[in-house]
Symmetry: C2
Subunit: 323 residues, 2 copies
């Protein structure tokens, strides 16, 4: 059943002992949304626990500062920014996937698996929905809550640069700044800081960038051996995803990264004229118009071939549309 | 004489045949501020002309679309975002430097050379001041004006990431988005697009990055020969300035670029704890706390030595302050 903001607020206010679930490969939006919602619920006297199928890396730890986790058996399960139960990870999918009471999400590809779903596919981030929800619930937006939400709002829009950014995104960002979000340090941490090992990985990846379809598609590929060479690791690769699209003339940017089992995760970025989620969907993945991903169970050459094959008709369609 | 916003608005409304002057090496703020002000004045029935000591590059041309330039002899001269008459360039400094009627600026280093100065050193950009000024003047903010102003607001804050970004910056950005600024394409153009030649220059410059003072200072150096090697050019180097500071642990990032006469322009970037303008001032330059520049008339080795010498006490001061 689909629920609106008002109904979602009532649901949350009328329940207790919450379990909030984040998606695996946690990003600023799933963590920022869950921690902001948790803080809001705690301020209303509720008990809350947050779980994620993957470990939270240290850059997210500030969002948990002073947030007490409940030890109680959860009685109301909320998935935040999770479009599909498989994104809970194998363990939590098995444990909770079939009994999510409420899903709050902004992915148009949401498979509607929860008992109740609050979905706003035009929202740039789940954090924007959580902001409106907390206002609806009468939660006082503290600087800490504002910081968690700002993290979601800014990271899911690439600091207001992605095509999903709306007027409302700017309005909410301004509100969060007014409420005391530490936007400077958050921006520094997520957008303006590179570890030395990441800087080395980035250089190596850029050296290997390849162009296809008359320069309209750029692909960079990160193999496991590049982690050894640079001292970098898989968690650091996400920031690479936006780089291929930055090159002038590129309509579809692709980051391919080799997973532990030898398969390749492909992250797609477009300027919005080409639907990245449509390309990803052909290979069993999903996402948004400007940013999507899929995993291909094949070696590097075969994976490259398959992703280019999925991209080709979209780039050619655009080409003929322009004529 | 210092004037406030209200007095500045009155001055502008009571004069005509304006000449608006931008600073050399024009950036998004000086051009965005001048074109927005020009459009506002034209909407009030005034005649306006804009001049700059350097040519405007193509990325700025959209701001001039549909803006008619007056051929009349200027009768009221306004310098926008120009802290010092020498930043008008040799010709215009000589021609207009001594008879600027009004200077609208946000540089704390402004040398107060105009008959009247409207200075707000805490403003992240001149464009923020122009926005408030246009509101004060009762100008209707069209999407075109909003786009010019958004360009200034976003470029002078590195898309809201620099330490000069305030709550007001976000509020004004939200207003400009509401007024129809084409923020997506502006952000793409200024922050998310690299020419292939720039991408090559960036790779080369990053390969040569050197660290000093226990990794707290990072320096990249662009020599004239690197332009030949990559097909890039001097205008493309400005984007490099932020890269050294991005490396974890770096407090002062430096871009040194060789000018045509063999001297080196040093662009400094800090996170705001260290005052970049103070370092630049030691070598005859200036700027803001987080971003400043100076030119050193010496070869690469000597210039490096001098800039490091200027940086050392600031980094050491900070070090002892931390103890």
């Amino acid at each position: 059943m689909m629920v609106n903001l008002n109904e979602t607020a009532a649901l949350l206010l009328n329940n207790d002992n919450f379990l909030l679930l984040c998606h695996i490969s946690p990003d600023g939006d799933t963590v920022g949304s869950a921690t902001a919602l948790a803080r809001g619920l705690v301020s209303k006297g509720k008990k809350v626990k947050i779980l994620c199928g993957d470990k939270f890396t240290s850059e997210y730890s500030f969002m948990f500062d002073g947030l007490e986790m409940s030890e109680e058996e959860p009685r109301f399960i909320v998935a935040v920014d999770v479009a599909d139960p498989k994104l809970l990870g194998a363990q939590y999918k098995k444990e909770y996937g079939g009994r999510v009471d409420l899903c709050i999400d902004h992915h148009s590809t949401n498979v509607i698996y929860a008992a109740k779903t609050c979905l706003e596919p035009n929202s740039a981030s789940a954090a924007e929905i959580i902001y409106l929800l907390l206002e609806e619930m009468g939660v006082e937006i503290t600087p800490e809550i504002a910081g968690c939400l700002y993290t979601g709002v800014s990271t899911d829009t690439g600091c207001f640069r992605f095509s999903n950014t709306t007027v409302r995104t700017f309005q909410i960002a301004a509100k969060l700044a007014e409420y005391g979000a530490d936007y400077y340090n958050i921006n520094q941490s997520f957008f303006e800081t590179k570890t030395k090992t990441y800087a080395a990985l980035e250089r190596l990846a850029l050296e290997g960038m390849r162009f296809y379809f008359d320069g309209r598609c750029a692909v960079i590929c990160v193999t496991r051996s590049m982690y050894d060479e640079t001292g970098s690791n898989e968690a650091e690769t996400t920031k690479l995803a936006n780089l291929p699209r930055q090159v002038e003339g590129v309509k579809v940017g692709v980051l391919m990264r080799e997973l532990e089992d030898g398969s390749f995760k492909c992250s797609l970025r477009t300027h919005g004229e080409i639907d990245a989620s449509l390309i990803a969907a052909k290979l069993g993945g999903g996402g948004h118009v400007g940013a999507a991903a899929c995993t291909i169970e094949a070696d590097k050459d075969k994976s490259t071939e398959l992703i280019l094959k999925a991209i080709e008709p979209e780039i050619c369609d655009e080409d003929s549309a322009l004529k």
